[in-house]
Symmetry: C2
């Protein structure tokens, strides 16, 4: 089969599209013929060696959509040809609160979705939401799961509440906006790009703020009514601002830290009795509930760019550019 493989660390240009043997499903596994995958920052980090426990060679890719192609021993309830999306979280375990020791994400070391075929445990296979085409379905798994767990499971966002989504544009933040609006919440988004803010308004954002145009942006938000919750993947100075902005008794979900270490004032946290809630990936229940919300509300994931697998290097570079709004999808013929 054809796959995008990494044999050495460096940058995205080290990815090679090459022939490699198709995997055989072990007992309890399903083999899926992939039609589309989607990229996450994790894939770019792996090419640069910025991820713990990198094992080479590897096939990255956590998001996939395709058709069941072969069943391992003992698998029931699935048939070849079923159109599916994949829960990228392997071995989460029975505790909804936290992953089990030894759990991991599809796509390094477990061979990932930037390939014509992938084998995963049968319980990671879910029916493709009927209203989604292949590309939008492929965009869903890891970013949708991350946003759902952070915003709904961890930060417990409710209808009628207001959520702050800083740095709109990434896959997770665009899903957070979609989910917030789908459940009836009010969304405040920030970006340094007026174009991204325009896109966010089209997706339902209620208040948009260009933080590059106004270094005092956070002061403007202090008059925008109480902010019940926030979801942050950047850390750094943004996180400190968020802690100042959220109302007493509010919740802040943290799912990443691309902006590095954060200098925080304990006063904001203890005086306002904030809940700061770390979140990463999600449990099987989170994935199931996320798919149910997407289907019920007919949510359309935002696809910002589509590349063929042969152009995987350009696709990862597009992701890294930060210019994208929504997900970068990879077509696999």
């Amino acid at each position: 089969m054809i796959a995008a493989r990494l044999h050495s660390i460096g940058d995205p240009s080290h990815l090679r599209v090459e022939e490699t043997p198709a995997p055989e499903p072990a007992a309890g596994e399903v083999r899926v013929r992939l039609h589309a995958a989607a990229l996450n920052r994790r894939d770019a980090f792996i090419t640069r060696g910025l991820y713990p426990g990198i094992a080479l060679p590897c096939t990255p890719g956590s998001d996939g959509c395709g058709a069941v192609d072969a069943l391992g021993a003992g698998v029931s309830g699935l048939r070849c040809g079923d159109e599916v999306v994949l829960d990228p979280m392997l071995g989460w375990g029975p505790n909804r609160r936290i992953w089990a020791e030894g759990s991991g994400i599809l796509g390094m070391p477990h061979p990932g979705t930037l390939a014509q075929f992938v084998c995963v445990p049968a319980q990671n296979v879910y029916a493709r939401p009927a209203h989604l085409d292949i590309e939008r379905a492929a965009a869903l798994p890891l970013a949708g799961l991350t946003a759902y767990r952070a915003l709904i499971t961890r930060a417990r966002l409710q209808a009628g509440e207001t959520v702050l989504i800083p740095g709109i544009g990434s896959g997770v933040q665009s899903f957070a906006l979609l989910f917030a609006k789908a459940i009836g919440a009010r969304a405040i988004v920030t970006s340094s790009s007026d174009e991204k803010l325009e896109r966010a308004r089209a997706l339902g954002a209620d208040v948009t703020v260009n933080y590059a145009a106004d270094p005092q942006w956070f002061k403007a938000l202090k008059g925008a009514g109480p902010i019940d919750a926030a979801i942050d993947g950047s850390g750094g100075e943004t996180l400190a601002r968020i802690l100042d902005l959220v109302r007493p008794g509010g919740r802040v979900a943290i799912y990443g830290g691309t902006g590095g270490d954060a200098k925080i004032r304990p006063f904001s946290i203890f005086w306002k009795q904030l809940d700061i809630l770390g979140s990463s990936m999600g449990s099987p229940e989170d994935f199931r509930d996320m798919l149910a919300l997407v289907s019920e509300k007919r949510i359309e994931p935002v696809v910002g760019a589509v590349f063929p697998l042969a152009d995987i290097v350009a696709a990862v570079e597009r992701l890294e550019s930060g210019a994208n709004f929504g997900k970068v999808v990879v077509r696999i013929d």
Copy 2:
């Protein structure tokens, strides 16, 4: 009556013990003849102007124990002579999760307990736990409430779990140790003082670490088994260490930040999916539940020093010295 009053900002020496009119209980209030009070960092901060909204002159003091002396209109269920302790939180409101706007703490601007008489709403008056003498009962309110809410209500510490209590010695941290042991948890404490660690062992601490003697103290703790929860009032570097030490899925309650801003790694928070839970003071339910635990387990608050009201300046200086283990109590004759 005699009271310790502050007419100007500067330092603890600005406190004056002087005659001032005794207060009259308004409708719904109770007047209490105080026999003992206890100090909190808040009192010292007020003398130095390091507290929001300072109104002068004022009578500080949040903790008090004494006897009901007069009842305002409409008060029932209490009688003159009842021995009581005071819930120092005024106007918390109906939401257990967070105080209501306009709530405050006894002792500035509302006249406090460093006086022969104080008036408080009747619902702030609770029977003195029968096993406690006056000094220990006076030591209980604000530090006990703060520790209880942070450790039990917010961090949800359970029997059989392990809690990290850094910087043992303060009132709140010594209550946290007592409460942790009372509910059947395991306690790891740290201090820069071997004497304080010895005292902590006598109170039941299971593991003690002198962080001044070993700059790599946190490495030693990595082998001490999983740490389920922590309670911190210092912020600064300590908080960053705590976030690294607590197990995946663990909880960290923050009730203060005497050590200043904290530089934190978002990775610890999101990867381990920590709950970081700001806490300050406590709800009426927290106070009631704290008293119930103290009575049921016959917990003895730690009193580190006792001063007469006439020596209030020395008492606050003792608190500020950091040399104390447990509470500084003030006798009021």
